[in-house]
Amino acid sequence: MIAASVFDLPSYVQSSFLGLIVTQLEVSLGATLAGLVISLPIGQLCSRLPKFYPPVLGLVTVIYSIPSIALFVLLIDITGETETTVFIPLTLYTLAILVPGVVDGIRSVPPNVLDAANGMGYGRVRRYLTVELPIALPTLMAAVRVAAVSSLSLMSIGATIGNYGGFGDLFILGLRVFDSKLIWLGLISLLVLSVLCDLLLRWVQRLLTPWARTLRSVG
């Protein structure tokens, strides 16, 4: 069966197809999550104290513009040739997408809604969790989707410093043994994975914002 032979990777690939999927998801989505955890407080700070936003935005933009391979290799000195060397720059790259995402999400909350919540006696934390975050969610989730897809794709460059590129490993190996089938496999798998992740995150968004579902069916 063709399908079986496609997913059976040659032995010099130090992983199974499933293993590649796992590594790819672990590192990319892990980096996106880590980026989100860092971006939430930073974004919150920037929206409360707008003076901080331009320099912070400038910093993450500058980091984002540095080619990933450069960041990976520079980090080898500190973290060696390991998965962490790929993980840290990937996390930093997501900041350029997620910090603006958080800030825009918070700014999308209408001020009169905040006023109403205050007027009803909501405490700061409760207001943040039950009013601001839910309304900011669509904008935020859009940014998370972009960051996730971006990370999935960028991770493949990690293959240049060893087999830490997930499906990117197939690219480097395909080049080395001049086998385009491996490369096609890597590309298509990565693209399919990206689409699936995007769909999954959209589904999560729908779960978390039930009112948006009703809006669509009424309008």
């Binding site: 933009t61 500058v62 984002y64 513009s65 540095i66 080619p67 990933s68 391979i69 450069a70 960041l71 290799v73 520079l74 080898i76 000195d77 972009v146 897809v149 971006s150 999935l152 794709s153 960028l154 493949s156 460059i157 293959a159 240049t160 410093i161 590129g165 499906f167 990117g168 690219f171 480097i172 395909g174 080049l175 001049f178 086998d179 385009s180 490369i183 096609w184 890597g186 590309l187 990565l190 693209l191 990206s194 689409v195 995007d198």
Partner: protein, 221 residues
């Protein structure tokens, strides 16, 4: 930190002063091909997105291109074309151009769509032809976003050109890839730092372009 030490070794090494492996040569090579790719990408993407923004159609197609551009791994594309076609300079230029197109397309389309519709209506009503409206109103008003798209494309192209060293391209990526294979870490550090500086320089160039070309009337905040 060892990084500074490696860096000093790199810049002290006379073999990188001149010749085909010289810093200046590699830097120019990198810039030259990045610029060519940017110009070609802009020549393709700008007219398409200006027209689509002006007519208001093509929102869906542009979104799809944006998503593909984001999800497409640059390394994969480089390597695929090298293996399927051949390892050559021309073939390497293809992914450089292709990956530069989505940012320009997305930002320019969005920028032109975001121009105040009342201003465009007034332009038509006062007697501007469609071309005059595009040239005198829509493009200048959308310039901040157009430049942002070009900047995004430039950054993407510089990064992809760095990677292209794995398929025998020259440029600054050469130091990184050669250094990795030769276990010569000073080359790796030198190359990485140089390419990081080039990216910053690219950002600087676009910052300057923005201040020079964008009308003060658009800096509302």
């Amino acid at each position: 930190m060892n990084l500074l030490g490696y860096l000093r070794q790199f810049f002290d090494d006379p073999s990188y002063r001149s010749g085909y492996d010289g810093i200046w040569t590699r830097m120019l090579e990198h810039c030259e091909y990045s610029l060519i790719a940017l110009v070609i990408a802009a020549a393709i993407a700008l007219p398409l997105s200006i027209l689509s923004g002006h007519s208001g159609r093509g929102d869906g197609a542009i979104s799809i291109v944006a998503v593909i551009g984001r999800a497409m791994p640059s390394l994969g594309l480089l390597v695929l074309l090298a293996v399927e076609l051949q390892i050559s300079l021309t073939v390497t230029m293809i992914p450089l151009v292709l990956l530069g197109i989505p940012p320009i397309l997305l930002y320019t389309h969005a920028g032109i769509r975001a121009v105040d519709p009342a201003a465009v209506d007034a332009a038509r009503g006062l007697g501007m032809t469609p071309w005059q409206t595009i040239r005198q109103v829509e493009i200048p008003a959308a310039l901040p976003l157009i430049l942002a798209g070009l900047r995004g494309a430039a950054v993407q192209i510089v990064a992809t050109a760095t990677l292209a060293a794995v398929v025998s391209f020259g440029g600054l990526g050469r130091y990184i890839i050669d250094g990795l294979y030769q276990f010569d870490y000073k080359q790796v550090v030198g190359g990485a730092v140089l390419v990081a500086l080039l990216s910053l320089a690219t950002l600087l160039v676009f910052w300057i372009l923005d201040r020079l070309l964008v009308s003060p009337g658009l800096r509302a905040r």
